[in-house]
């Protein structure tokens, strides 16, 4: 068999995690560099995978690998990627180096902390990040339901420690309050996702009972040959089981409340990890599993899900407007955006689903840009409250500029990549459900509102005393932000490479759900 | 008469022993009740061996006795050390097994 690219792509960061964790406690910088190098190597490997991936290729999955794992339960170690998986895999591999670089000093030992040769927070921080990367990448590659479930749950553990262990040092109420808040957020994150995972587990077992196998491809064959007999009610229950877990992860209203806490209390890089990388697994899984395993049930549930997504869009945006805390604001904005993604997925049009996939990628990049810059800002003054800033653009113009660009990407300004995806989602939804599409466009206006209000309150106006003499972006921080912004602009003007990869996969998904795009009235009338 | 009545007797004794285990606080008495239950079982085994006409039941009873002996030895040792530790043999005094 050929070289197992997918396994290696996932294994590399895992190895990196182990190596990083093994670095002696005193050699903190070495640990950082190790992690960075491993993540970059992973990125290179991911690039190779993208190159080797043939968009026009035949079959649902490519670069497949298959090994029996637990024979008795038909569990096998099946890997394989379609266009959507490749895109998200590339996104993950791309973001992690920036996350690591942005969090360069987040896990340093504070001055005045008594030297303890056992205590190695830096190593742990970066090792955990790499571990998350490994699991997320593997979950994008897994074509075996059980394997996916395993990773889906396993990635909670490192995330839990990242949120609870390395919280944001910038906290109003002092260290104790910060610690309590942080552990609360971490536990909340864990509980929400565990409940979702539990329900999903039941559904996973149900799938095995019904289909007799965990392998996606096998199930697809069974369905194609009509050997898969699934009672309507059964299918619906199983669908709900899967969807609930993914909705929690995504997160979808009303199971979203863990996100603001988690993103607010964790450091900016970890927040990016949550919203830009880990949550994508949820939306990705909706496309990969909910639709492909239970097409009928998906169609059955579409109206409700669309309404929930719509609520998420407007509700998240409104709450973002009402926030006083920069990071929580961004978190609620993300909730609104995830609403768009889910809406695009379940609009069941190729525009909607391509748009949703693009949206996952673009939202990852744009949120990363905005959140990381926000993190730099916060790290400078040690406060997350919007009211503590003002007139930053006067003292730190570059920071303000990058922040503005990130914000403009968040409000999906044409010319920046999020616009393409958001508009695709809207068009895709509109072409099937006009009313919902129109209401969703309100999200555009609200997005402008919260972004511009945030920018105005923090960056413009007279320079506040707290901001006086704030240093502008350092080289490291520029290295983090500049490529992201360049990518935003490039993908905004020339998204073709991405769409070329995604479109076939979406087409395949659509055929799985056997849905076709509604025809324009004129053609239809003719 | 039918040897089945031995079984009835055995079950009766067994139940009595069980009740004793439950209501007595003195560890030694509790132990005696356990012995009573074991003996009830033995009786049942013996009766069965007679009913079935082979000696396996008696073998089991024999082994039961041996095991009972071992158990008694260890159990009484435990009781003694327990009594040394706190000057009482009440099972309720050893109630640290709670949350």
């Amino acid at each position: 068999m050929s070289f197992p690219f997918l396994t290696v792509t996932a294994a590399l960061p895992a190895a990196g995690a182990i190596v990083t964790a093994a670095v002696p406690a005193a050699r903190r910088t070495a640990a950082k560099w190790t992690a960075l190098l491993f993540s970059i190597a992973t990125l290179a490997l991911a690039a190779v995978v993208v190159v080797k991936f043939d968009p026009g290729g035949s079959g649902p999955f490519q670069l497949t690998e298959s090994h029996t794992w637990i024979k008795d339960f038909g569990v096998s170690y099946d890997l394989g990627v379609d266009g959507i998986g490749v895109a998200l895999l590339a996104l993950t591999a791309l973001l992690i180096p920036f996350v690591i670089l942005a969090g360069w000093h987040d896990a340093d030992v504070l001055e005045g902390a008594e030297p303890n040769r056992r205590w190695r927070p830096t190593q742990g921080f970066f090792a955990l990040i790499l571990a998350v990367e490994a699991m997320v990448i593997l979950s994008f590659e897994a074509t075996d339901v059980f394997l996916f479930y395993l990773l889906f749950e396993a990635m909670l553990i490192p995330m839990y420690f990242l949120i609870g262990g390395f919280g944001d040092r910038a906290h109003a109420g002092g260290d104790e309050a910060a610690a309590t808040q942080r552990s609360y957020a971490a536990v909340k994150f864990l509980l929400y996702n565990l409940v979702g995972g539990l329900i999903m587990l039941a559904a996973v077992i149900g799938v095995y009972v019904v289909a007799g196998t965990f392998s996606l491809t096998d199930i697809a064959h069974l369905r194609a040959s009509g050997d898969l007999s699934m009672a309507t009610s059964t299918e619906r229950w199983l669908f709900l089981g899967f969807f609930f877990a993914f909705a929690v992860k995504a997160p979808l209203w009303p199971v979203h409340t863990w996100l603001p806490n988690a993103m607010g209390e964790s450091t900016a890089p970890v927040a990016v990890l949550i919203t830009a990388v880990v949550d994508k697994v949820g939306t990705f899984a909706m496309l990969r599993f909910c639709l492909q395993l239970f097409p009928e049930a998906s169609k059955w549930a579409t109206p409700v899900i669309l309404v929930l997504a719509l609520i998420s869009i407007v509700y998240g945006a409104l709450l973002a407007v009402g926030q006083r805390d920069i990071k929580r604001l961004i978190a609620y904005a993300s909730i609104s955006h995830f609403g768009f993604i889910i809406m695009g997925i379940f609009a069941m049009t190729s525009q909607g689903q391509s748009g949703a996939t693009l949206y996952m990628v673009n939202h990852g990049i744009s949120t990363a840009a905005l959140m990381l810059v926000a993190g730099f800002l916060i790290s400078r003054r040690g406060s997350r409250l919007i009211s503590d800033y003002g007139g930053v653009q006067k003292v730190a113009p570059v920071l303000a500029g990058t922040f503005l660009i990130g914000g403009l990407a968040t409000l999906s300004l044409p010319g920046l990549s999020p616009f393409v995806s958001e508009f695709l989602v809207l068009v895709g939804t509109f072409s099937r459900y006009p009313v919902i599409g129109i209401i969703a466009t309100i999200g555009i206006v609200l997005a402008a509102l919260y972004v511009l209000v945030l920018y105005q309150r923090t960056m413009t106006g007279p320079v506040k005393a707290t901001v006086q003499g704030m240093p502008d972006l350092k080289v490291r921080e520029l290295v983090v932000v500049a490529p992201l912004i360049a990518l935003l602009i490039f993908l905004g003007v020339y998204p073709k490479p991405l769409t070329d990869i995604v479109n076939p996969a979406v087409h395949q998904t659509m055929s799985q759900v056997d849905q076709t795009d509604p025809h324009p009235q004129l053609e239809a009338s003719r | 008469m039918n040897p089945v009545y031995y079984l009835y007797l055995a079950s009766l004794l067994f139940t009595i022993g069980a009740a004793g285990v439950l209501i007595r606080r003195n560890a030694i008495v509790v132990f005696m009740c356990v012995e009573l239950m074991l003996n009830a079982c033995n009786l049942a085994f013996v009766a069965f061996s007679r009913l079935h006409g082979n000696l396996d039941g008696q073998i089991i009873a024999f082994f039961t006795m041996v095991v009972a002996a071992a158990e008694v030895v260890v159990g009484l040792a435990i009781i003694v050390s327990m009594f040394r530790a706190r000057h009482s043999a009440s099972v309720d005094d050893a109630s640290l097994m709670k949350l």
Binding site: Y192, T257, Y315, L318, L319, V321, G322, Q323, S350, Q351, S354, Q393, G401, P414, G415, F419, F423, L424, L426, V427, F430, S431, P434, G437, I438, T441, I442, I444, V445, A448, L449, L452, Q456, M459, T460, G461, P462, V493, Y494, P495, K496, T499, D500, N503, H507, D517, P518, P520, Q521, L522 | A18, V21, L22, R25, V91, D92, S95, L96, M97, K98
Partner: protein, 648 residues
């Protein structure tokens, strides 16, 4: 030749990129770089124009297809450009006026330490605006549409340290976003109706679509136009937008960007023609805004805000004309161009006056300036004559045509619209005369004027370098600022005649917009005389009020209408009370709901589980006997179960 089109946009875009990304190294040459690139764009435009003139009237449309922008099954957006007479008109206007204003800004912003960035923004605006008028499909147009919005946001808020400026910028962007919502919905409608949103495809299939669809699309486009062109009910941002530097007001908020709405409607003529009801709405919006802006313009003492009101009103004219359909499209565009000239000139003049008056914007603190800044006086005066439609000047030709077209609409509508436009002309004459008199005539009220506090509403920090805030000593602006004013003055004098005589402009645009001569119930002569009479009336009243009597340095209380007009006819207050306050309450309550309700449910469940387990743990009392009891009971149950099983 076609491939030059991209360069039109590329030049200023390059400038923007270099100026914004380049470091302080570019500070000394940046502004010239920007100007040169703007000029380059104009030159390319001119070359293309000449080339276009060389072709036949119907073969003048050029296309350039760069690459496919968004290729998704069925949904195909090209990065492609279309240059026809309409676009060409705009290209020349934008790049021409743009270049002039770049030049002007070199002087005007000379003392601002962030000048490089200012020129970067200006170039960005040019690029976006050119993209807007050159796009060959609505999605690309949308890109330019929001691009100019962004540039306008950045430029209005250029002096970000002023909260007023930052707020104004945010307001402008938000109101525009509401309009953009309309545009995006229109695009979606087009996609679902025609399966495409490229100009060619849409206009080709427009006649096939049902009128309902077309009406919906048209109304959505109108909403977009209202946002961009500051038409009622989305006009509130334009007044505040005057917080920006004056060149910005001249370029973006007078000459080019605010007219994008007119472009949109004219460009979509094929769609609008199919939806008469929508056209009626357009006309009404235009008419209302016409009067609205004029009234506001009468009441403002801030010279720039007064001009802004006038801009609104003039664009009202254009929108009205565009709403009239084939009768009016050409004249809408024509008025747009001439207006571009004289309004830009007026703004630059205003800027020059402020420049000489320590950035004082209150006309009541001006007076008798004609002696001190002659060039400004002359150019401003010419622009004034042009805008009030003084016979022979450009405003006369364009506006007169629109009034005729309004009458030509026919029926009672025609009469009403005609009356409105005439009335508008009169009011225009009134407030422009008022402005003229208060600024350049009368006694010099700025003498022994009290020291203006630096944090006055529109204190332009560029003034910091221009001497102290004591009694101003007005002076003429440097040549680099006067030259553009002169050029624009020439334009505002000659353009109308050049376009109007022999219907040059009409023949030029007709292939694109189409044209139909409506027969108006009243002859052109009558209309013209009526116009002149009314404008004389307006001038007369203004003279009686402000020429004869001295102007009070402090604004009198004024009539109810005046006071309302000073507050933009209470539209802002309405917005504040309904939208802002309401929004705040909504968000606050939602935050509460999210925290206590959505989150509370979950936490409540958790708490109840905790209590339950707290009660359950009491069962674990640690007494071996009770454990034994439960075991015994369990065994009993098991035995019972087995017996039952065997019994069954």
């Amino acid at each position: 030749m076609d491939n030059l089109i991209a360069l039109l946009i590329a030049a200023p875009l390059l400038g923007a990129a270099v100026l914004l990304c380049g470091g302080r190294a570019l500070d000394r040459v940046g502004h010239w770089l920007g100007t040169v690139l703007a000029a380059a764009s104009f030159v390319i435009g001119a070359v293309l124009f000449v080339d276009m003139l060389g072709k036949g009237a119907d073969a003048r449309t050029m296309h350039q297809h760069l690459f496919t922008w968004v290729p998704v099954a069925g949904f195909k957006a090209d990065m492609g450009f279309q240059l026809d007479q309409l676009s060409m008109t705009f290209v020349l206007l934008i790049s021409g006026v743009g270049t002039l204003i770049h030049l002007y800004s070199v002087g005007y912003m000379a003392h601002d330490e962030r000048r490089r960035r200012f020129f970067g923004y200006l170039n960005l605006f040019l690029a976006a605006m050119l993209l807007l008028v050159l796009a060959d499909n609505y999605l690309l147009l949308y890109m330019g549409w929001e691009g100019v919005g962004l540039a306008s946001y950045l430029l209005i808020g250029f002096w970000q340290h002023k909260p007023s400026a930052a707020t104004a910028a945010k307001k402008a962007f938000l109101v525009n976003r509401v309009g953009d919502m309309g545009l995006s919905i229109a695009i979606m409608l087009m996609f679902t109706t025609f399966g495409t949103f490229a100009f060619g495809g849409v206009f080709g299939a427009a006649d096939g679509a049902s009128e309902g669809k077309l009406t919906a699309i048209s109304l959505m486009l109108l909403l977009a136009a209202c946002g961009k062109s500051a038409q009622v009910p989305l006009q509130s941002w334009l007044g505040d937008a005057m917080e920006g530097p004056t060149p910005v007001s001249a370029l973006i908020h007078a000459a080019t960007m605010v007219t994008a709405g007119v472009y949109l409607i004219t460009r979509s003529s094929a769609v609008f023609n199919g939806a008469p009801n929508a056209q009626l709405v357009v006309v009404v919006v235009g008419a209302v805004t016409l009067i609205f802006g004029a009234i506001v313009g009468c009441a403002k003492d801030d010279i720039k805000k007064s001009l802004a009101g006038s801009t609104m009103s003039q664009i009202g004219y254009m929108i009205l004309a565009a709403g009239l359909g084939p009768i009016g499209y050409v004249f809408a565009i024509m008025h747009l161009v001439t207006h571009g000239f004289f309004k830009a000139g007026l703004f630059l003049g205003a800027g020059s006056v402020m420049h000489g008056m320590n950035d004082e914007v209150d006309m009541r603190k001006y007076g008798g300036l004609r002696r001190y800044m002659p060039v400004t006086f002359v150019t401003f005066g010419l622009g004034y004559l042009a805008i009030i439609g003084f016979p022979g000047l450009s405003g006369f030709f364009s506006k007169d045509k629109i009034i005729e077209a309004a009458f030509a609409k026919g029926g009672t509508e025609g009469w009403i619209l005609g009356a409105v436009t005439l009335l508008g002309a009169a009011i225009t004459a009134y407030y422009m005369t008022r402005m003229m008199l208060m600024t350049f005539f009368g006694e010099e009220r700025w003498r022994h004027a009290e020291t203006r506090s630096p944090d006055a509403p529109s204190a332009e920090p560029a003034a910091a370098g221009r001497g102290a805030h004591d009694e101003p000593h007005p002076h003429e602006s440097p040549w680099i600022m006067t030259i553009p004013m002169i050029v624009l003055a020439v334009g505002s004098v000659g353009a109308g005649a050049f376009f109007g005589i022999g219907n040059r402009f009409l023949n030029w645009l007709e292939p694109v917009t189409g044209h139909s001569e409506g027969h108006s119930p009243v002859s052109a002569g009558v209309v013209t005389t009526a116009t002149i009479v009314l404008l004389l009336v307006g001038v007369g009243i203004a003279y009686l009020q402000y020429g004869r009597r001295p102007v009070p340095a402090v604004a009198p209380r004024g009539s109810l209408l005046t006071r309302a007009a000073r507050r933009d006819l209470l539209q802002d207050d309405f917005n504040h009370v309904v939208l802002v306050r309401g929004g705040e309450h909504l968000t606050r309550s939602l935050v509460y709901v999210d925290h206590s309700l959505v989150d509370g449910v979950v936490n409540g469940t958790a708490a109840s589980f905790g209590g339950l387990s707290g009660r359950l743990r009491k069962v674990q009392n640690g007494y071996a006997r009770s454990y034994a009891l439960s075991m015994f009971g369990g065994t009993a149950v098991v035995v019972a179960a087995t017996l039952l099983m065997r019994a069954v």
